[in-house]
Amino acid sequence: MKLLHKTALYLLIAAFPIALAGVFLLNYYIHREVLHEIDELLLSELILVKDQLRQHPPASTDLHSWDHNLQLALVTTPVSDRLAFRDSTTLDFREHEQVAVRMLRTGYTVGNRHFVITLQQSYLEFDEIASALSIGVIVCFLVVVALLLLADVIVSRQIWQPFYAIIRQLQQYRVDGPEETVFPVSNVDEFRLLSQSLDEMSHRTRHQYAQQKQFTDNASHEMQTPLSVLSFELDLLQQSDHLDEADLERIQRSQQSIKRLSAMNQSLLLLAKIDNHQFTHSESVDIGQVVNQVLDNYMDYITHNGITFNRMIKEGVCRPMNRQLAEVLFANLIKNAVRHGSPNSSIFVQVGLTSFIITNEGDPLPFPQEQLFQRFVRNQALPQSTGLGLALVKEIASQYGMRVEYDYTGAMRRHMFQVDF
């Protein structure tokens, strides 16, 4: 729900109880005013009646009223001239129903004659006017509120325009985009501030990202170049005719160390790049296809070792991933199984709709299971291992919100890796 609509809704919800309370308050207030007016009316009438009585005192027989709103009665003892107002009902002659009236009763003495004066005034019209008025006012109030809200919605839509423009810009924001994102400028202070802050933030982030990227690139270059020099020199040295077998073996071992150092460097850089979210390009990757390709690459090798692949691979299961990372993820798990699989056993590989499973036969882990995915934890029996392959697997999987699980069944002597994607 939009902020705009939510505000409008809450205002409407608040307006109803206010209106309801308003009806009662207004009604009460008008009622009080009307009462006051009626009382004044009765009092002024009383003065007239008293004048009449004083100037033309009527005979006792002549006391029936001239007017049904006025009743005069002769009494023998004097009645207090206290003004007694009260509400009552009387039968309306025209409509033959009980109507509310206001009554004023008081005593009056002219000479030695004592009168009781009772005056009454029907509320009739006043009451109806009061109700009509209060309802009318409240309806007006509600209409005004509704109109104001409508105006507010229209105005707000206009005012929030820059805000939405900023949001649209943010949605398109890429830290590695070719151009610096410029957030729209608004003449509203708050939005201008927001725009400025975002501009600064994006500038800073881009700068940091570029620096980090440059660092990893440079580190790669700076490390790989001396390694290349070493490797080339050994390539040339190896061609010499004056070397004996031991010398050649030393060269081989040096070459292997260079290779391992280089692989480690590449893996660490890859880990750093993943940490920095430098792999922003993603495409729909067919996991079954990737897995099949990697497996095919190992066919010669496993055949030589008497290992068989038992494939249950569903092609066409696609996930949005960076292709390079997807290949590293599955290739590392497969290489792991190929490298550690016992000769003359089988490696089971399954790609289903939501998971990848690979199992291989082999000895239990030489280190605690919790350390399996940690960096530089490796089987010392394999000198060529960098101890980074499974760390990369874990890192890539978590980058894409995938879960990697490991299990070992002692009875079957089987390692099992599962990736839920």
Partner: protein, 230 residues
């Protein structure tokens, strides 16, 4: 065959030059973008090996310039970054191949040879080494003019050995060339030995002398002049 090496690291330049001159190429070098740019404008080369990272520019710009000048030279990009982006950009710009540092000199030689074969309309080309003839276009091997059945990998093994003939090739270099990066960190000694044994047996059975010498602890050498009888 004229080759231009563009690389800013002097020791790399010297080593590459040394190895490639041993392969009978005419090698020129340039250690900066500026010099490289001058050389590619002034001379024609058959193959250019260019490092992407140069002190005064990007090696990819050299590729761009070559393509704009409709150069016929084959281009191999060398980079210290194992970056898919650079690779794709380079290949899109018209480079023919991509090598990631560190690589081995026999591998560089094999890439150059392969590129040159593709450039020179390999259809008619036959590579002869003593009794062995290789027809790259058909991926076929003839011994004494008779075809020998080989697997793809055996063919690639033989081609790599003959490309670097007379050179001692270590096992890991051979495995990496034929089977690729996947075999990194996998113990492949027995594995390569088996494939090599099969290849040698096929050649010997077809009547070829044994041109392949094993150097224990090191690797293999292919040489027509260094015949040994098995």
């Amino acid at each position: 065959m004229k080759i231009l090496l563009i690389e800013d690291e002097p020791s790399l330049l010297v080593a590459m030059r040394h190895y490639l001159e041993g392969e009978k190429y005419t090698v020129s070098t340039a250690n900066s973008y500026h010099k490289a740019s001058e050389k590619v404008h002034d001379y024609d080369y058959d193959c250019i090996v260019v490092d992407i990272t140069l002190p005064d520019g990007n090696g990819l710009s050299v590729v761009k310039e070559l393509k704009e000048a409709h150069s016929q030279a084959g281009i191999i990009i060398v980079s210290a970054k194992n970056s898919l982006d650079d690779k794709l950009t380079g290949l899109e710009l018209g480079a023919d191949d991509y090598l990631t540092k560190p690589f081995h000199l026999p591998e560089l030689n094999a890439r150059i040879r392969s590129l040159m074969r593709r450039r020179q309309h390999e259809g008619e080309m036959q590579l002869t080494f003593g009794a062995i003839t290789i027809v790259p276009a058909r991926k076929q091997v003839l011994v004494n003019h008779e075809p020998v059945e080989m697997t793809v990998k055996e063919y690639e093994l033989l081609l790599f050995l003959t490309t670097n003939k007379g050179r001692l090739l270590s096992k890991s270099v051979i495995v990496e060339h034929v089977w690729g990066d996947y075999m990194d960190g996998i113990d492949s000694h027995d594995f390569l030995y088996t494939h090599m044994r099969n290849l040698r047996r096929k050649l010997l059975d077809a009547g070829s002398p044994d041109y392949i010498t094993t150097r224990y602890g090191a690797g293999y050498i292919f040489s027509e002049t260094n015949e040994t009888t098995a």
